[in-house]
Symmetry: D2
Subunit: 142 residues, 4 copies
């Protein structure tokens, strides 16, 4: 279990994200997980793009999601993201998507990530990245 | 030419929006046009989803876009949207996408829209929608 | 467990499906699951769109996926889809995505679906749809 | 004008490609343009991915599309792609999207491409690529 922060991001549902059922197509909730995860890194003072430029990648190796209630075009939704577990070479983020106006839970899920180098080899998570995942920001380390 | 407002929206580039060239895949700029257009309606006090519930649709009948410089993951971009022309049954929005930090122009374009009913027949733009397109908000009309 | 058929679909990776790691963005494998599921229905003589026109929907309520090896632009991939379990109001499809040339496993996963009516209420799976899910085609029933 | 071949690709509309109007979201026709363009290269014996590995990129610098009639989930569509013009540093592809069953025209458009190197500098189109764009296949050259 992580004692790190829960980061909230708000976004408005795009028409491009809806499908013929007039609701958000299911994989877009998982794209929103990515948006929430990116925001987690930003708010911890870390630019994930910089890590990639240094050859450290954090691809999704596993995803699980439950869709509880549909979002519609124009809805304002809140994505909550936090780190659930950190191991030496992998970490798990967890997510919750809520309808911003009412707080109704729309989806929950998690993604597991492996730390890999530019050759695609699994490597030990660098200590500065590990610190961010454990909830201490990069800023604090400097 | 329209004398209406130019509406600005900011968004951060998602990883899902990038491609194997490490830049934003070109059709996503056109999705951002949609985001800017939706924001135009919101800021004019209009909920486009409500119009659809009343059987008034405004699908894209034509699009043109020029890609001038690439956006990358994590970039903050500004989408500027305004109404360029309103006719009895169609209207044209124009757009500009800028890198928020520097103001560098990344893309420009326009979309033409036909007003159609729930049977897909082209119809005259309802006067309240026309007012919004001409830059007078729905709020003002009440 | 289902004794129904395993349906294979081949598709070529689109540039739009890649991301800045030069590999396929993870949610696109789940879109491919949908392509494989649709092909399952087609090959069982069923047009899913017809069911929706009759007010029977089969939205994804849960998804799980593991990403084992990356696909790249231009790769030909095989999606294998089959029904794993059918209950009175829900069913589970399972999937495997392979690199067509070598048979290398790229991703595995499953999706759970609830049968709902046009009001979004969960309903018992109609017997004809149930038959298709159990591996007997619609054709056979006529 | 080009005297090269017109390449046809067939694809079935994905649920992921539809939107809340129950029709295909407009930018997906432009993704299909990309699919048709990729198939053009394949059928000319050229693997575009190999060119990128050699540092030759062919990004979209401009796009224009007209949407004439909607495609729906499950529709089989034909994408026709051909080279319209080749200049020293840029080329233009043109496209037509048809409903396969009836031949009804759904969309038309074109994309302009600049030839750039791995630094993003515009360069002269290499002669082998130029040959492919002019309708002579890579195979013929060997």
């Amino acid at each position: 279990m992580s004692s790190g922060p829960v980061i909230e991001t708000q976004l408005r549902v795009r028409y491009a994200e809806t499908d013929a059922m007039s609701i958000v197509y299911h994989t877009n909730y998982i794209v929103w997980f990515e948006v929430g995860r990116g925001e987690y890194f930003w708010q911890q003072g870390m630019n994930y793009a910089d890590w990639e430029r240094q050859g450290v990648y954090f691809p999704v190796s596993e995803v699980s999601a439950r869709f509880l209630a549909p979002a519609h075009y124009g809805d304002l939704v809140t994505v909550r993201a936090w780190v659930q577990e950190v191991r030496s070479r992998e970490a798990t983020f967890a997510y919750e998507v809520l309808l911003a106006e009412t707080g109704q839970q729309l989806a929950t899920g998690w993604t597991k990530h492996l730390c890999v180098d530019s050759e695609g080899q699994v490597v030990i998570i660098p200590s500065r990245l590990r610190k961010v995942l454990e909830g201490g920001s990069e800023h604090e380390q400097k």
